[in-house]
Symmetry: C2
Subunit: 325 residues, 2 copies
């Protein structure tokens, strides 16, 4: 009787979650650093159903590209893994139906699949009164993100889910460190209207790198962390150097070095590829300058005949927005 | 007349400087991280002379191993480069005589040559009333240290000269970042009585490393910096991982993994090679535990018939000690 009442209690609840886009790699932090931005972001609504299991009812904003099939969909897998865990803990079975609203394209370098996975995982967790901590929820969202990227990564999932700037210190076990967000830090993110597949962008990287490059990268990420923690924007700027991905991936992005030059000339602290591209980002500690930097970047693309969308955003320190009805 | 008075003023002044040993690499910071310890350290006395140029009058404690020839001696070259800079700025010529007292062997992994170079550079700078800032002085001490190590590195020179924990973010230009020293951090440094040449220890490293290892190293150094800055000792401990040097250099050090196991069992936060070895270090945030850890490490060596000297020390946040008469 108690079980029936609890099940009843969960039927027809609805949780709607916005999970933000994120910038991974952040120049000096290939595969380990990421930060969340205010917008864009994906929205997943999860509704409890009498029928057990997870079902994707609809996907909006994807131009029919994304699969409705549960196991091939990042949000679907993230929701399923989250629900399975909750079922295991509660010793009951539940049913959830998802409606996914995509506000950014796949393969944009904005952490699109991570945002969908996070929104789905958080929505399911919210439906059942948050039995899973945000830190633990990263694991389930990662399972979803892996459907798109081919392997389990947390560098977009962690900032989208936890907000702020996150470091993945290591994976065995998953060790996520929240990095202090400098108050004035402002991101300019520009999405050129072309698609770069994460898998292709990954395949272009060498399996080995020069020891001297690894040393350079460790110096820069250490400088970036110190710069963030003491709000030293000049140090952050000097540390935004990428010797691992940029030399290989820049060629996949039209006008990359022209955009970089324009952003730096407009006063950006640094400029690099967002995730695996083609989106790019610049950082500044001057909100006024951000607009100038955004114009400088998009103008380069426009002159080359490439359309783009620019987002100017503080680092998003709050993560997903949840509404439960 | 004024020039003669100024020269007179500098004759027969004597500056005696103790510069501390240091632990470079610090597991996750190959070639970029280092910290100074309280002892041991080398001492250089510099006396102004009427005869222009730099002369090494004596070297003590080196068992006759180190060259008196100026250009082959780390302290000599560091003193000379420092003096040349002062002469250039002042538009005058000066003379300095050095007496070097070594308190640790070369090839110990304790930053022995860096300590001598730092002591010499600081002594000459002190003789002439500190015209060169400590940060700039690193450049001249590096020239001296290069005589011993074969290339210009600052990962021992910077902590010995500036004290504390230092990060070399980059070399072009030299960018040294002081990292907050967690109050309770305590180092155990053990010097097994064998010699490993820095050049050999460097030659054993591969020129290329796996990308996944570089990613692991960046995650760990970032975690270490964050751990230091927020005094999170557990995070510091989890970050003391070395996938670059340890796998290759451990074989040069007798009982390395047995020492490591003993140190960790005794409660160390982490254990690794100090510089290029054979010295090893462990970190703890418990001064009482430090003694137990030191005993655990030296006992392993003793059982294997290897003598050793152990040093227990807080991180030395003050750097060189100077006495001018």
């Amino acid at each position: 009787m108690k079980n029936i009442m609890r099940q009843q209690r969960h039927v027809n609840r609805k949780a709607t979650v916005f999970a933000p886009a994120s910038v991974a790699n952040v120049a000096c932090g290939f595969d380990v650093l990421g930060f969340a931005i205010e917008k864009p972001g994906d929205i997943v609504s999860a509704t409890t159903t009498k029928e057990h299991g997870v079902r994707i009812a609809a996907i909006k904003g994807d131009d029919g590209v994304l699969p409705l099939e549960l196991h091939k969909n990042t949000a679907g897998v993230a929701a399923l893994r989250t629900l399975e865990h909750i079922q295991h803990v509660r010793g009951e079975e539940f049913g959830v139906q998802l409606v996914i609203t995509k506000n950014m394209p796949s393969g944009s370098g904005l952490g699109s699949s991570a945002a969908s996975a996070v929104a789905a995982a958080v929505a399911v967790n919210a439906l059942f009164d948050y039995p899973i901590s945000p830190e633990d929820l990263v694991n389930f969202a990662m399972k979803g993100e892996a459907v798109a990227s081919g392997s389990e990564h947390a560098d977009n999932v962690a900032p989208s889910l936890l907000g702020g700037i996150t470091l993945i210190r290591g994976y065995k076990p998953l060790d996520i460190v929240r990095i202090h967000v400098p108050k004035e830090l402002c991101a300019v993110v520009v999405n050129p209207h072309i698609i770069v597949k994460t898998k292709e962008a990954r395949a272009i990287l060498p399996k080995k790198i020069a020891l001297k490059d690894a040393i350079s990268q460790t110096g820069n990420i250490a400088g970036f962390i110190a710069g963030c923690m003491r709000e030293d924007y000049a140090l952050i700027g000097r540390s935004l150097v990428d010797v691992i991905a940029e030399p290989h991936r820049a060629q996949l992005i039209p006008q990359y070095f022209a955009m970089k030059q324009a952003a730096l000339q407009a006063g950006a602290l640094g400029f690099n590829i967002s995730g695996s591209g083609p989106s790019v980002f610049a950082l500044t500690n001057d909100a006024q300058k951000a607009k100038v930097i955004a114009r400088a970047i998009t103008s380069v693309l426009k002159r080359a005949g490439v359309g783009s969308t620019a987002f100017i955003s503080a680092v998003n320190t709050t993560g997903p927005k949840v509404k439960v009805v």
